[in-house]
């Protein structure tokens, strides 16, 4: 159990961040929405500020803990390319991803977000499990 404290605590910071943006700015902290609108040039300065923070966050972590978070990308590059395209198209078509639907949508008890979260979790589990068995 003790191994999962950083995950729980880190998750709580994600929820705090989403709450801050909701109460201060009046908007849902959905990362696919923020990145998508930035790419379209909508509310560019605000969305760029959030994205800059997102990239700065690991450096703040490194300042506190001495190193950037460890990270392993195991997939081959054609898989990464396909995965990126699917995540990009799918998150915009489905109006959100793990942050907007998965965190705030669930907290708001939005039926659309509950359906979306159940769907992408099921698809993710199916894909990763099949990939693990086959690859």
């Amino acid at each position: 159990m003790s191994a999962y404290w950083p995950s729980l605590l880190g998750g709580m910071l994600l929820g705090l961040s989403a709450s801050l943006l909701l109460v201060l700015d009046g908007r849902i902290a959905g990362i696919s929405g923020i990145v998508g609108r930035l790419l379209l040039g909508r509310r560019a300065a605000l969305n760029a500020a959030f994205v800059a923070g997102l990239v700065a966050g690991p450096f703040a972590y490194a300042a506190l803990f001495g190193a950037l978070p460890a990270l392993t990308v195991a997939a081959a590059w054609p898989v990464i390319l396909a995965a990126g395209l699917l995540v990009g198209v799918g998150s915009r078509m489905g109006s959100g991803c793990t942050s907007g639907h998965g965190i705030l949508g669930l907290a708001r008890l939005s039926p659309r977000s509950i359906a979306a979260t159940a769907t992408f979790l099921a698809a993710g589990i199916l894909t990763a499990t099949l990939g693990g068995l086959l690859g």
Binding site: L24, V35, V87, I125, T127
Partner: protein, 145 residues
């Protein structure tokens, strides 16, 4: 720039930094950890469930507070999703997103945050994701949505 616009910019930067820090602390910037949760046949890692539980637990008081407020602190009105219908686009899009998520272990937040490492596969993923978003928003959805 008005004082309120500057404060909005700082709020977005602070919220983004807190989000990136939270992703780092929780281990979710690491796609291997995410796949450890999604891959039920491998050595299962429950971390992601703790992350989601912690995040929702802290988002609930934010939502309850928001519902008591007439307007957000730094804006004149709330900008919340108005759609309520569970339609085919929502489910198809979520399924497509889920397949991509399960293939590489990256979703948008962790992927963008992981750019901080400068690793080529992360840059490739984010570039492909950006292309996917632009293709959807400009070609598939039209400019209105």
């Amino acid at each position: 720039m008005t004082a309120r616009a500057l404060l909005r910019l700082l709020a977005a930067l602070a919220a983004g930094t807190l989000f990136g820090f939270g992703l780092s602390l929780s281990g979710m910037v690491d796609p291997a950890r995410v796949l450890g949760f999604l891959d039920l046949a491998g050595r299962w890692d429950p971390s992601l469930a703790f992350v989601l539980a912690g995040a929702v637990a802290m988002a609930v008081p934010g939502v309850l507070l928001q519902r008591r407020m007439a307007r957000p602190v730094l804006d004149d009105q709330f900008h919340l999703p108005q759609k309520t219908r569970i339609d085919a686009r929502l489910l198809a899009g979520s399924a497509i997103f889920g397949v991509g998520w399960g293939l590489a272990g990256f979703c948008p937040g962790p992927a963008v945050s992981a750019l901080s490492t400068g690793l080529p596969p992360v840059i490739l993923f984010v570039a492909a994701m950006a292309v996917g978003m632009i293709v959807h928003d400009r070609l598939l959805a039209g400019r209105h949505s």
